[in-house]
Symmetry: C2
Subunit: 201 residues, 2 copies
DNA sequence: CGCCATACTATACAACTGTACAGACGTTGG
DNA sequence: CCAACGTCTGTACAGTTGTATAGTATGGCG
């Protein structure tokens, strides 16, 4: 085998090997779960050897953390793509929601990974869910500073509402789809049912 | 070690070894996932050796199927515990819903296992979700025969509604709890947020 | 009693896991 | 030019996995 990127990482075929490994890991972790995904499977999908994964990330756990870090980055960048001044104050929140929804629907692997992460719920500080929650909290805080967001509820309540409405529908959709498929011939052409997920305080 | 149940399985300490294995498997599968649970862990939890699991169930896959079969049975029995004649026709459906909800809240492991099963979504016929869907469909069918259930929607739509409303809240609750915990000191004593899950056709 | 079916243990094994490590290659800085 | 460095491969290893199997004990039944 020829080595692809010797010396300083050039971007010959689109992506660094390190990035390709991380992307392949996200896809496989999302599809089959972290435990059920071997480093060898990741290596094969990324077109590298197991040794290189260890070289770049050290351990499987560290690779998982890198994947989660990338997901948080993805959220942060998406939110930052709709800065405070870009829309009338009363539309910022809605516009950010739309941006996040668009990002998620374009990255099924991210959604699938998140679903598993929340499910397994390690519940430890520094967790993926914790970090996303803090990101949401920061967003709520910013909007309040700008005098936009309501202060009728606590920040915690607003974060729960944002995250559950954003993610809840995505998590439950597979269940709806499964059952809809089950009765596909029966449902008539009435189309997919529409999910409603919300929280009340 | 002394063997516990020689010959015909007596019910010396509460349960057959075979049943203890199945229960232990349900608990561990629910808590950590099937893949992450070794037969040795199941054996230890059930107080038997690995060999006995193989003896009774053959393969890990067969053990998983036995666990799922037991779950379906649990649903079926719960529904059957509220027979058609036991309540006024217009209350049967609601009463059965209540019975299922009570059964689920008393069996956290079942809920957790179901959450994982739906998540992984093997999407194959004979699947756990498929079997539960068919159970729901049967229920809807029965209620229609008795002239109780509405025929305004298709059976498929009604099954989706039943399953999503039953299970959706249970699946999303961990997410809500996680975030609520994250902001526990912030939320004030406003109590846990209440989840709303529904489908519209 | 003798015999067999069953419940059960113990050990063994091949496959696969994550991790470690030695080295090959090409680039870069002095 | 050459030593140092980062990227990358290949192999090796100890631990764990699911499964197979040989063997032991025990109760029921002729």
């Amino acid at each position: 085998m020829a080595q692809r990127q010797p010396g300083v990482p050039t971007r010959a075929d689109d992506l660094t090997a390190k990035a390709r490994i991380r992307n392949a890991a996200l896809d496989l972790f999302a599809a089959h779960g972290v435990d059920a995904t071997s480093l060898r499977a990741v290596a094969a999908a990324a077109g590298v050897t197991v040794g290189l994964i260890v070289h770049h990330y050290g351990t499987k756990e560290a690779l998982r953390e890198a994947v989660e870090f990338a997901i948080v980055e993805q959220f942060a960048e998406t939110i930052a793509s709709v800065p405070l001044g870009s829309y009338p104050p009363d539309q910022i929140a809605a516009e950010r929601d739309r941006a996040v929804a668009a990002m998620l629907s374009a990255n099924q692997a991210t959604v699938d990974y998140l679903r598993r992460a929340i499910l397994d719920g390690s519940a430890q500080r520094g967790d993926l869910v914790s970090r996303l929650s803090r990101l949401s909290a920061q967003q709520v805080h910013d909007l309040r500073e700008a005098g936009v967001a309501s202060t009728k509820h606590t920040v915690g309540e607003q974060v729960v509402t944002i995250m559950v409405r954003q993610l809840g529908r995505l998590f439950l959709q597979p269940l709806v789809d499964r059952i809809a498929d089950e009765f596909a011939d029966d449902t008539g052409a009435s189309g997919r049912p529409h999910l409603v997920v919300d929280v009340s305080h």
